[in-house]
Point group: C2
Chain length 331, copies 2
Amino acid sequence: MSSLTDVAKAAGVSIATVSRVISHPDKVAPHTQLAVRKAMKELGYQPNRVARRLRQRGGKRHLLGLIIPDIQNPFFAEIARGVEDVAYANQFAVMLCNSDENLEKESFYLDVMRAESVDGIILPPINDRDLAVTKIAESGIPIVTVDRSLSNSTIDKVEVDNRQGAFDAVAHLIKVGHRRIGLITSRVTISTGRDRKLGYEQALAANDIAVTPDYIRIGDYKQASGVTLADELLALPVPPTALFVANNLMAVGAIEAIHKRGLNIPRDVALIGFDDLPWADALDPPLTMVRQPAYEVGRAAAELLLKRLGNPNSPSAWLRLRPRLILRKSC
Amino acid sequence: MSSLTDVAKAAGVSIATVSRVISHPDKVAPHTQLAVRKAMKELGYQPNRVARRLRQRGGKRHLLGLIIPDIQNPFFAEIARGVEDVAYANQFAVMLCNSDENLEKESFYLDVMRAESVDGIILPPINDRDLAVTKIAESGIPIVTVDRSLSNSTIDKVEVDNRQGAFDAVAHLIKVGHRRIGLITSRVTISTGRDRKLGYEQALAANDIAVTPDYIRIGDYKQASGVTLADELLALPVPPTALFVANNLMAVGAIEAIHKRGLNIPRDVALIGFDDLPWADALDPPLTMVRQPAYEVGRAAAELLLKRLGNPNSPSAWLRLRPRLILRKSC
DNA sequence: TTGTACGCGTTATCAC
DNA sequence: GTGATAACGCGTACAA
């Protein structure tokens, strides 16, 4: 409510001095500083972030943008927490939006964020050549992609070794005796789905198992598609004995589909999911999953972005984290 | 990047006219309007939301604040979606923050939101006499509380009939034969925990069952406390035969604790949770829960807030939604 | 060390 | 119907 002007008046100094007390305290005489701080306290002064952002040049506006496909997916929620914790620690606020895997919505929010003068944006691109993102990046706003990445791009990124994660999962399935392994993943235009499929294929190849095209299904990372696709797989004349489902929500869907058929996990069908879930242990049965360090991804991305703000011209950074297969009871 | 000035220059008019084309198109001659719109398109002009917010008075700034305890709780994530969908439909952006049930953090974010000149704020207060919230409300920023509410307050609110929900759950437990029923809820300073406890007590009373103080445990709505407290309850000399756990995460924790003791749900211990979970069907066993219409809560709150912005002096609104007991297999 | 004055991109109030 | 111009609250050259 009170502004610089009010504080200046109360302290008997100019607004420039008050401003300096906030931004460059070392350039103000100690006793003046004291008087100003006293006035600020008395008036309950809070700098107006909007006015400040209007004036400030990039990197000091204390606002980050975060666009994720769906906050209801625990994986993205965990990333969001990682981002927010770093932001909070640095007095940054976060503007969070859900794109719903919808290019138009993403584009709208990207515009909003530019119009809001955010210092930078963190997001998993909707597909691997997301034009809207590329354009925004070229306009000079620092971007860090997380989870998924852009092809042929020099944008900062934090990703997880999805190929390796998938490879480990499928290799484990094979080790415990399975040879007919179904895969539920995403369209290949999403880098994560593509890489997880690659890991699946490589694990089969490494064990001299031929790929059965019919065992591969393409979903949309949502629970419902997990139900449908798992059911399709199970309805095959010669169904798989194990399923590798390349995302958390679809894995839950698969559990439901399997149960609905009266089948037992892992006796009748083994199952490994991806991304992990906070309640994986309470599922029926406790679900073996490839865990991504999602919090870490968010944290690292925010730190990368903050670093980039201080160093606009440093070479682009690329972080790759390792996933981990968490053995529980579903295979 | 381009501003009103650029557009004005390109269109050969003054900035005032350009501004009018955006805000009051009816006050501009059709042909001038055309020229201006053409220039805007050519320059890819996007209004600067920051500058706009600096000038605009309340209600037209197109920014909402949302502060929730924890985005990783699916219940709050669902509320957030409800809020965001309404916001998006009205071209509002949402600034989302996590308070972690921490008064200091909440207070910080409240300040940030005021400093960001949000049009209004939606939040579940951390406790029922949350001073920081009251103060912000008195300063004139429209607030809508959701889920939890403030005592003795005239602030707009959307709540759920928690007493009724708890009553239904416990009554059902009694109906299927239980008389020793444990309760895990929150501190009474949170209205939801208090009301759910009340419903529990009323259901017992209605069936002439005395309250056993030892059967009532106070948690913090997080998974870990569900594990600990359920374990304590089960370790009692005469343990309860059924548990009513007044929140989703603690219910998941309770499942884990029960399993860890090698007990079967519902044969050895029956269980009903609260809030619901998208994965309730995939849990072991599918968990009976009192479902809150969380998306609806968020939607209604955002709509209430938007309405309030247009009508600052209308009497305060108070919405109460009904929860529903969803029977699955845990009791 | 401190103060004056301008500009950030808008909106709104005047005149014309 | 349109154009100057004064705010909004702040940061920062530049002057003192």
